[in-house]
């Protein structure tokens, strides 16, 4: 009795989430139609985002927010991946328990901080530092990228650490018994063994960086222009959507759905890839 009920309930939830996914896609796709017909593929390469006087038409292109999203994410990943790997390796192979445990807990807590707090901290504390050391006016691509990196590092490090921790002790000992150094054991045994989890963590963090709104909204400058230098302000897809959604109408609204659809598809592909890697690892192990 109860089992059947539970099974039906699980089945319902499972189908519901599937329909939700398809539903969201369908809605984005439908609302994006107007912009897709109007601009087609040129949308991806148009810099302008200008509504006509009467608010009924205009020229809208996704080039700036797409480039802004890609660049800020790229900066974030370039900083975060090596640092997160370093932290994970430190925690699994180098730190003693007395140091490793508290650092581990701190990392997990950092991963749980809401992004708006990173945004505020970044704006009031970090932006002036960037301004005085690298230049620019504080907010911009670099600041957004670095704070994004700081945001995703704990998350990436925690998952990679868990993956590296699954390397069996005897496997490491066998490598040492062959005359390997600690560095060689990390490089040749631990990294390959936990490759699936590490790549998974990178891809999930990538997905998070691409879609991050609040922290980036505070820091990227929200300016509709292609950055000429790394400290220049620009905008990103989620930031543009959040800033313009309230007032936009018709074609502009449809263009924003088009942007949302692009972000949705890209994120979907990224998360599916991550899932594929996680699953692939389970099947093998």
């Amino acid at each position: 009795m109860g089992g059947k009920l539970f099974r039906n309930f699980s089945f319902l939830s499972a189908t519901l989430s599937f329909f939700l996914l398809v539903g969201i896609f369908a809605i984005l796709f439908t609302y994006a139609q107007e912009a897709m017909h109007e601009f087609g593929f040129d949308f991806l390469f148009t810099e302008a985002w200008e509504a006509d006087e009467d608010d009924e038409g205009g020229i809208f292109g996704g080039y700036v927010p797409i480039i802004g999203t890609l660049l800020s994410t790229l900066i974030a990943m370039a900083i975060a991946v090596p640092l997160a790997m370093g932290i994970a390796i430190f925690l699994t192979e180098i730190a003693s328990d007395a140091i490793g445990k508290p650092v581990s807990i701190a990392i997990e807590l950092l991963a749980a901080i809401p992004s708006i707090i990173y945004g505020m901290w970044g704006l009031f504390y970090f932006a002036p530092i960037v301004q005085s050391t690298v230049g620019g006016n504080g907010v911009g691509l670099l600041t957004a990228g670095i704070v994004l990196a700081i945001m995703i590092i704990p998350f990436m490090a925690a998952i990679s650490r868990d993956a590296m921790n699954t390397t069996p002790l005897v496997l490491k000992e066998s490598a040492y018994a062959m005359g390997a150094t600690k560095f060689e054991v990390i490089k040749d045994v631990i990294m390959p063994y936990s490759k699936g989890g590490i790549i998974g963590s990178i891809i999930l963090a990538l997905g998070r960086a691409l879609g991050e709104t609040m922290a980036v909204a505070f820091l990227i400058g929200s300016v509709m222009s292609i950055p000429g230098s790394i400290t220049d302000p620009t905008t990103s897809i989620p930031v543009l959507l959040a800033n313009n959604f309230a007032e936009a109408q018709d074609l502009e609204m449809s263009s924003m759905y088009f942007l949302a659809l692009i972000l949705f598809v890209v994120s979907f592909i990224i998360i599916s890839t991550a899932k594929f890697y996680f699953l692939g690892r389970k099947v093998k192990g």
Partner: protein, 263 residues
């Protein structure tokens, strides 16, 4: 050959694990003879693995263990060194290249069959491709697994059966031409046929090197070994020629253990 040369000599060796009150090994004295197979037997927890793991200093991956006494390793030229004096990572590496270790469960690395066997060779600085290929083939032949693997050297070692994986691990260790190979219950995770193959292999290996093997299988110890050490509660209770231990042990304790009358 034929002569009873020492390859390792354990003298008054005591070992206490980090944080433990009692020593796990108490004043052990055990010779390891060249080109012979020495078996270590004894009830669970008596310290067999602890002693074996002292012989290649793998214990030193973890800090805080205490030991005293000495363990001499005799070189081919007759000189000896006390391996307990080693301190530098480089010296541990040299030691482990001379004293290899095979674990209970097969431990193929997550890489191809070829790379598994070439791994230790590459670590030891051999880069020349044809030399690597030659030595990998030789090691795989030496470990009686060449026929099964020669057409799939590039495939992942994880695809081999358990018994094949264990022979691969032996090949990997043999490739380094160690003076001593330490086996910690190498067949306890394997089926009888794979076990037979490994036993045969170990018997052949003693032409080239010296073997110390921990086993819970009395038949295996008596079939394989030339000398047997019976350990009990951290002591070396009796050490002698295997025939003597199994046919006419001098201690009642030893007799009780090998005949299975153990309380």
């Amino acid at each position: 050959m034929g002569k009873n040369n020492l390859v390792m000599d354990i003298k008054d060796f005591s070992f206490t694990y980090s944080g433990a009150e009692e020593p796990s090994l108490k004043k052990i004295n055990l010779p390891v003879l060249e080109n012979k197979i020495t078996a270590m037997i004894g009830p669970s927890g008596c310290g067999k693995s602890t002693l074996l793991r002292a012989m290649n200093r793998i214990h030193d991956l973890y800090s805080g263990n205490k030991y005293e006494g000495l363990i001499n390793l005799y070189k081919a030229d007759g000189s000896k060194e006390n391996i307990l004096d080693l301190k530098k990572e480089n010296d541990f590496i040299k030691l482990r290249q001379q004293v290899g270790m095979i674990f209970q469960k097969p431990t193929p690395f997550p890489m191809s069959i070829f790379d598994n066997v070439a791994y230790g060779l590459k670590l030891s600085g051999i880069k020349n491709r044809s030399e690597l290929e030659g030595r990998v083939e030789k090691a795989l032949q030496g470990a009686a697994i060449w026929k099964e693997t020669k057409d799939r050297l590039k495939e992942s070692a994880l695809g081999l059966s358990g018994g094949q994986q264990q022979r691969l691990c032996i090949a990997r260790a043999v490739a380094l031409k160690p003076r001593v190979l330490l086996f910690d219950e190498p067949t306890s995770a394997l089926d009888p046929i794979s076990t037979g193959a490994i036993e045969e292999l170990i018997t052949e290996l003693k032409e080239e090197l010296s073997v110390v093997i921990v086993t819970h299988n009395m038949q295996q110890a008596s079939r394989l070994s030339d000398y047997t050490a019976f350990m009990y509660l951290g002591d070396l209770a009796e050490y002698d020629k295997t025939d003597k231990i199994f046919l006419n042990p001098s201690k009642k304790l030893t007799e009780d253990y090998i005949t299975g009358r153990f309380g």
